[in-house]
Amino acid sequence: MNDVIGYAPWLVGFPLVGAAVLLLGGRALDKWGHWIGVLASSASALLGGWLLFRMIGADPAERVADQRLWTWMSAGGLDVDLGLRLDPLSMTFVMLVTFVGTLIHFYSVEYMAHDPHRRRFFAYLNLFIAAMLVLVLADSYLVLFVGWEGVGLASYLLIGFWDHKRPNAVAAKKAFVMNRVGDMGLIVAMALLFAHTGALDFGTLFDAGDAGAGEGLAEATGAVSTLDQGTATAVGLALLLAACGKSAQFPLQAWLGDAMAGPTPVSALIHAATMVTAGVYLLVRSGPILDAAPTAQLVIVIVGTVTLIFGAIIGCAKDDIKKALAASTMSQIGYMMLAAGLGPVGYAFAIFHLLTHGFFKAGLFLGAGSVMHGMKDEVNMRGFGALRRVMPLTAWSMFFGWLAILGIPPFSGFWSKDKIIEAAFTGEGWQPWVFGGAALIGAGITAFYMTRLMTMTFWGRPRWTEPEYHPHESPALMVWPQVILAVGSIALGGVLAFGDVFTTWLEPSVGHVEHHEPVLSVPVLMGATIAVVVVGALVGYLMYRRDVPAEAPRGSVLTRAARRDLFQDTVNEGLVMKPGQGVTAVLVTADTGVVARGWGVLAVGLAGLGAWLRRAQTGYVRAYAASMAAGVLIIGAVIVLVATLGPTAGA
């Protein structure tokens, strides 16, 4: 691997250059600039594919390669090198980001065709790709943090892309601020790590020298192993906070729904496939720390479980097709977090589900975008229905995405999700029953709301009228990415799960996993899962197959709560925003009343003093001469007095 790692910086370099050219190029690039963005992303994807090919060909022991580009800062005991790490984990992400990213670039060419700021959109997309690649390729927490902030910035810019609409600008701000809360966690984690180990790079922290580099993290004896239990727990919880902010996990989940205000390709790329999964990546990458902190792992599992149920419930009540998908994303990432919290037994499945989810959720979002494209940007599913006839390709691609997310064998989701549910049932005591049960129920609810979405959109009777809406199939550039992603939704999971290819592949990064027996036998669990899913799907189909009222019925207490995102905004406002506003109001009053007025009085007083003193300036030379003479006189008098009294006083 070491012979080709010199090309790795170009993975980041292509999209970064693309973003710079597009941003600095000005209006001259408005007509064809988007192709620069597509080209940059494609180049990165091709390079990534070649590197992946080389890595597959390399000996498993040599699949981890670090490249130090240059010394970023050197201060006392802190030496931060700007470096990249290529290993199976980062390579997986590189492929996901560049491949899905490139598809979405193509999709956006058509989707944003009528937007006057398409060039800026592609610049931001490229910026995002570059930042995300920095995040996953980083060889230290500090470089990772750069990418972490970079994707936050790109997310902010893209959510608020249509910032002339106030709700979009507010949503962008909300996402940014809530991400900052998570970023604090990452900063604290880095500070703790540095204080206790003196290093921030993965090599020093996790690898036990050259000999242990290829053996996996399970036997890692890097600097992390010197951490005591309490510190490891603190670092783990801080990392969890960071992951919660970025991955929209409970309790920092509120921004994701509003982030759907951005263009749909953005929702597909950033808020479904890649950026929101960065939290999972962070936790998996920090595996050795979590292994040393069982308490932190338990908290992660709880957070993941709560979020997967939370998101699933919200998803059942949303009529906005994008918000329903966003809730689904939240829920699916909850599954990944749950897996990541289970320890080495779950890391590989977390990443596996992340990968398959990246494909089928991106496909679903692109399908939703395609539907919106045909329905005059309408997002309310109560206005859809029977669209499969007018946009068959979109319907088929979403259909396979639907099967994948449901976890119907042999589609992608089955291979990853079922493993996570299986892993959740592993362990001792009450935990497997609670977490496993929740994961199982979550799968059922997922089946319900996804079927509801599909039924309301594509099946049933049309609730739109022809002259007002003219639904039509989207252009080829939009459809083909959906088709490709649908193929991924169908086959990817099965291909990678065959003979445990993927888990073996990830071993150099996340360690080898001994198979653990769940508390129930595997076939029983598999059967139960499929049964629950089928029941959920049937209920969903039967409920929404017939007429859906254009106005949402009042619904039960739970429905109303779910429509309001289970009061997440109310809670945030009550706990954080209102007290903050109160403090601000008090400070403003204090500032204007005391500080500002005080300075005002001082200024007026000084001005008055100046006006009074000004009268001394008569302009008459003789008056000035008189004051000079007075000064001379005083000095002379003092000299005389000192000369007269001085010796007397001394004697």
Binding site: L613, Q617, T618, G619, Y620, V621, R622, A625, A626, A629
Partner: protein, 99 residues
């Protein structure tokens, strides 16, 4: 007679010169007051040169004279210029720099 009487005389002349500067308004007379003050200091220099038996005092008095001559040349030129524009030699008429 005590030789310091010269110094006392110089002090009186100096004070009168200073008072002239403060009281007279004709710029030329004010200038004469300045000259009187310079002459008073010269007398002090000469007297102290005599007391100490050191010619340096006289040399300094000589320098004062030369510098005073230069000063008079420039000062009177300024007075002439001001008189040309304002038709007045009164120092009180030049009072634009007031607060």
């Amino acid at each position: 007679m005590d030789i310091t009487n010269y110094v006392v005389l110089a002090c009186i002349l100096f004070a009168i010169g200073a008072t002239t500067v403060l009281l007279r308004r004709n710029a030329i007379v004010v200038f004469m007051g300045v000259e009187l003050m310079l002459n008073a200091t010269n007398l002090v220099f000469v007297t102290f040169a005599r007391i100490h038996g050191d010619l340096t005092g006289q040399v300094l008095a000589f320098f004062v004279m030369v510098v005073a001559a230069a000063e008079v040349v420039v000062g009177l030129a300024i007075i002439v210029t001001i008189f040309r524009t304002r038709r007045s030699a009164s120092v009180d008429d030049v009072n634009l720099l007031h607060g």
